[in-house]
Symmetry: C2
Subunit: 339 residues, 2 copies
Amino acid sequence: MNSRTLCLTSYPSGKLTTEHLELADIPLAPLLDGEVLVRNTWLSIDPSIRLRLGDSAPSGYLPPLGIGDALVGLALGVVVESRDENFRPGDLVSHMYGYRDFAVVSATAGGLGGAGTLTRIDTQDWPPQWFLGPLGSSGLTAYVGLFEVMDIRPSDTVWISAAAGAVGSIATQLAAHHGCTVIASAGSRRKADHLVDALGASRSFDYHDGDMESLLARAAPGGIDAYFDNVGGSHFTAALDALRPEGRVAMCGAISTYETSNTLPSNLFQITAKSLSVRGFRAGSFGHLYDTMRSTVGSRLVDGTMIYEESVYDGLEQSSTALVDLLNGRTNGKTLCRL
Amino acid sequence: MNSRTLCLTSYPSGKLTTEHLELADIPLAPLLDGEVLVRNTWLSIDPSIRLRLGDSAPSGYLPPLGIGDALVGLALGVVVESRDENFRPGDLVSHMYGYRDFAVVSATAGGLGGAGTLTRIDTQDWPPQWFLGPLGSSGLTAYVGLFEVMDIRPSDTVWISAAAGAVGSIATQLAAHHGCTVIASAGSRRKADHLVDALGASRSFDYHDGDMESLLARAAPGGIDAYFDNVGGSHFTAALDALRPEGRVAMCGAISTYETSNTLPSNLFQITAKSLSVRGFRAGSFGHLYDTMRSTVGSRLVDGTMIYEESVYDGLEQSSTALVDLLNGRTNGKTLCRL
């Protein structure tokens, strides 16, 4: 049996395009004991895979893919055959072998820092794809960044970058509900307006509208107490300047740096001068908080006090376009591919 | 009455030299109620004043001095006249008006984040100049960086940069006594050898001996758990690469960046990839730990299980040379000027 699978055909020298990716028919190995065969139904399209599509990846991160290798990423699917006693045909599961129609998955091996372990999904209360977004690692990243890493207080002014994205849109709403003054930024005027109109941000800006320091100073004239960094680069630099003493930064991604080489900001001394705390984190290390996060976010999504937004691409043949669109800021909310 | 005082005569465009500084006779204002007149006896020479000797200082830090302004810095002195009920002639005090023979100091106003507030020094157990070094803000910086900011454990491999300096030499010894594997770096072979031979470092290197990544990889083949950053720049960059997951950085200064603007390849994504924690701090915020630190460091210095090293310049006319030598790595241990 074969599975159509999105593979890397060449390393991009700058921007990733759909030319660097190609669907190929890959033979599936026969099921071994402890494995299940899954038919994928939803693929999570995440920017971090871009780090593995160059010929070198940051040390400390997962290694680069080889030419011809299959892309990976979180996915939802239905078990069609099982050789593990804990899974039965028909079970809805999440796992890490996205970007393909079918996957053979070990029932026990982990992946993606715990988030990729084969997991049965109970969707009686919520639509299944929410488990890839607001109730999945995007939601957990937002929740952990705000409440565990930065320990936000209602009196804080919090800047959330990429605030119209999968993580940012949840973080913006959670921080606003917590009572914070939320400064939200995104990559278009339309997105920026939506952040105030629909997601509860106090003020917002399109980061293309001028230099970052001025835009941030106008939105937060008194400075900021916390910065949720999804973007890196000049966003991070501006945050260091705008943070007040004892300010906090949570870094969960740096999408602006995935396709360009940039230099270390020369204002790092701000970290010392203002006793700032800068912490990187990955949601996978906080899996014990899934239930807490889901009860908060899930109930708010159901009662309408939070909203969920998604950009859905139909068919595996659209998965490469979905990824390129995401990396170029052309999607909104959670980016998904529905098979 | 006048006081000879070291003043800034021009802004350096690159390296500070003694040509940018000059002693001038400055009239002292008459004592007001609540003020004391102090004859300085010891001046602490610290690299951070360099940040205020350019025509722009990092935002969030103290503003630049104007041309003609007097330099400031921690000093010890003897009260010669007092109009405050808490201080009497003959009292030994610390305050922030260094780089001059005499100073008029308010008995109550703070400065330098609390560390500069006029404070009576009780030297019955220790030599007075220790209160500018291992029992003063240098010692507190070392203590807080290791035990409060990075929370070091005996199993940690800790890299300490500028380890032969005022803060680094105390930090190296404290971390070694705590059981850590200490990697210590300095700016000469002689200093590097001394760190292992006399201060308890497990391994050391002269950072001029090759590229930082290779030097660090040779000294700590398995990576590091914590990095005490006195230096910034390429030292910081190398640390981000060498840190293991959940690693910690304490930033208390960035001497390598005070006289140059540097641009380095950005590897800040390591903070996210490895869930690192990077915290800036200033000892002044931890004044409540002075007693704890002094009882640890002071008793070790007295019983000989720690050693104290100083570079002493005699006479106020040597204070500019002392500062320039410090900034160029030509001093050892605590740099002081004795009046």
